[in-house]
Symmetry: D2
């Protein structure tokens, strides 16, 4: 399905504040950006670079605006797959065959301390064959055991804490899934983006596992993961994929997200 996706962000700065935004979806294997619009008001010079994960990053100095908040609007029409790919028989890629650049997604990272959670994953996925089935066992376990609840976690919450409290939001679910997969020697990465049908609508986070030479989508917030996703950024965990990184006191006054079927 083609989706119209986008967000509006309002920022307020006390003084000119450098920031890096990550708001621009890229065309890739599983999504194609048909059209896009990026508005920053008031107009200021911006530049763009590609980070080490291939994400498009927009650099800007957020100005002090006398006439109300600074507004960033990004909209895109993206062709997406209606279903996520599922292949329960896909085996784990032996580590010696994991491509060089994918190796980093096996290591512990800030919010996914996979080195500290090893026995848990072995237990959860004890009955699953090495590979997709393990990652799915992890995902299903999280979906079953962890309660989705706002206000119980913060931007500092790690997968270990989520495992202990059994509560969190989509990024916590993803972190836990990533940490557990990595401890099973399955490369896993964080994805942030848009998901059609999310309620309430917001930016979403899920994870991908590398199996049999490609990445598969996993989403522990849903009983059955749906398609119609638009990835904006990939990384080892939330530390790599913040939609805004600010270097100074920047107030986020509003963030509205929309995802809807594209106009014909």
């Amino acid at each position: 399905m083609k989706l119209d996706v986008g967000c509006t962000i309002e920022l307020s700065a006390l003084w000119p504040t450098p920031a890096v935004l990550m708001l621009r979806p890229r065309s890739g294997e599983s999504q194609w950006v048909l059209s896009e619009r990026y508005t920053f008001e008031p107009e200021v010079p911006m530049s763009e670079y590609t980070d080490g994960y291939g994400n498009l990053c927009q650099r800007v100095v957020v100005p002090v605006s006398a006439s109300g908040p600074v507004t960033v609007q990004v909209e895109a029409t993206v062709d997406t797959a209606d279903e996520v790919d599922v292949d329960v028989t896909m085996p784990r890629t032996p580590i010696e065959l994991v491509p060089d650049w994918v190796l980093q997604f096996l290591l512990p990272s800030r919010y996914c301390p996979s080195d500290l959670i090893g026995l848990v994953a072995a237990d959860i996925a004890a009955d699953a064959l090495p590979g997709y089935a393990q990652a799915e066992a992890v995902r299903a376990w999280i979906q079953r055991e962890v309660t989705y609840e706002y206000g119980t976690s913060t931007v500092s919450t790690s997968a270990l804490e989520t495992y202990e409290t059994r509560t969190g939001v989509c990024r916590d679910f993803a972190h836990l899934g990533i940490a557990l997969c990595r401890s099973l020697d399955i490369p896993a990465r964080m994805v942030v983006g848009y998901l059609h049908g999310l309620d309430p609508m917001d930016q979403h986070a899920w994870f991908e596992a590398y199996l049999g030479g490609r990445w598969f989508t996993f989403d522990a917030t849903q009983a059955v993961p749906r398609g119609n996703r638009v990835a904006i950024a990939y990384g080892r965990d939330a530390a790599d994929v913040a939609f805004i990184t600010q270097f100074g006191p920047l107030e986020l006054r509003r963030m509205d997200v929309f995802v809807r079927p594209a106009a014909a």
Copy 2:
């Protein structure tokens, strides 16, 4: 000035033919893509990657279409600088200080055999100080001595031939400028893109020279180079920046380009 730019391409394939398109301008230091639309009809799977020069490349297998030609339409609204930067006093960057990745733009390349044209450049720029003034001397010489004329060169024409025939089109002008600059130890690269006010309107090509730590725009087709340019792709010469690279017999049946001030 904000510009609406774009092109429509019609292709006809005898059988499904892989191709790489380079049609998508990127936001960068001197241009900011405000909005963009990319349509490929009939719809087929596409993917996108970034090449070694940072250009966005779209991969596709052009289908055989029973219902008329395959159509690619790319449109963008881009904020551009009204003037090109000029700094006649900017000195040549000593080669030992040229950044690693810029060194490649000092070497001869397919259409810019700078190793074969050395004495010419020394002569043309004899009275100029090393640096911007040399590149400008080269540019002005080409603008004065080479006649812009369609049909006198082909896609195989090198800078050496252009120097000899003293005739060519924008890409030949750029190739000659690049070859001459490189022979003066000034890194130079090819740019293809859009230029406001071009008549007749078409894709355009010009060159950039690396001086004092940054790239400057040079255009030997104009008495005084104008701004309002939208770069689509950078490379060592035309071999790196073809808007379409086809792997099979693909007929280009139409290519329309437009550049106009953006609607308010």
Copy 3:
């Protein structure tokens, strides 16, 4: 001074265990590898790649060895600077001028949660001018206030814990320095390598801060940081620069490091 540096590692595997080694110093701006020797016994296929930080990584499957431990020996003769560069007047690079690829060294990372330590740094460097003087104030404070002591920290210890316990080893000193610098908006990165004169001899860790367009060396374990350093790997923190990353139970039975003036 030219240094002969190297290490011998003995590993023991219960079954064939994939691992990534990071043991090979690269020639760079401040060091030049004159000669090098890399021995892995028994012989097995190895491959090498360059990670996202430019480090050389050797991939191998560590075999089960019936005839004693697996031995890795790496030796190099490296030309090094006798002094570290010092420039107390070097100002902080404004964030908007920090190169794209350096921005990542401003962000919190696993062992350097700079977002949680902000006020501390402001206090420590209160009297210093923004830039080198701040980083030096941080370094001197750590050197004065933190006690170098084995056994008080683990591989999981973060800069925050080191700040609280005021004790640790070289990697903890470096992590704290990095976290504090980042919280002052100074890009900082971890370096592991060899240092001449270390006693007892071992691999060493220190940090670098990006100031005025280049990296400066800081070492909080020394009253006056000395030169004659050989960097092996760079990263955001220890998570990126482990000399061995193992995917399975691999016992490190011995690690001997040597650094001495090169034979004439």
Copy 4:
């Protein structure tokens, strides 16, 4: 077989002359550098970077030496495969499955104008199945039809000229093989390096073709290509892999190459 390989280069400069050297073999899939020594006399600052093809490049300003020529000595002990891999049944990789970064090796390049030589290749490989058999047909044809002869070609000679004159040296043989393979839609790249048993001993050049997801070695200078090769650099053609690129008048006074079985 383990090989000791190396070369000694003597240079003479009229004034300090920047140069880029490409003399350092890297460990990779088919070779492992066990030890290495790099000497530049008199000693000058050098730095090293990795180019877009993964080659190690050494930057230096060659000094004017009062006490005789500047000498560069590079020696390495490298573990190499005794045979080149052969698989006559390996099919051509369909272009739509060629990895992004390999696509560039399908394009014409300076010395390999594959766009101008298309019908020739179709003819030569008319009886071969698409894939390895075609590349081998090309290789065998060159080996049979082109005469190895010094002095009949220059550094400017292209594959087209070699095809016409039917004479050349190893780099010409490689260029012709590459151009012919590319015109058959087989990605092909140039390799320069060492070959055991070459007589007279010198740097050598050959080519590789990308088939079935990996690179295969082809050498048109030999009736049956032998193994025991040490690759130093890869590129599209000789323009990318010069062992020295000089920016000024640098006289190469001597170049001695040796390749011999490693001392036990």
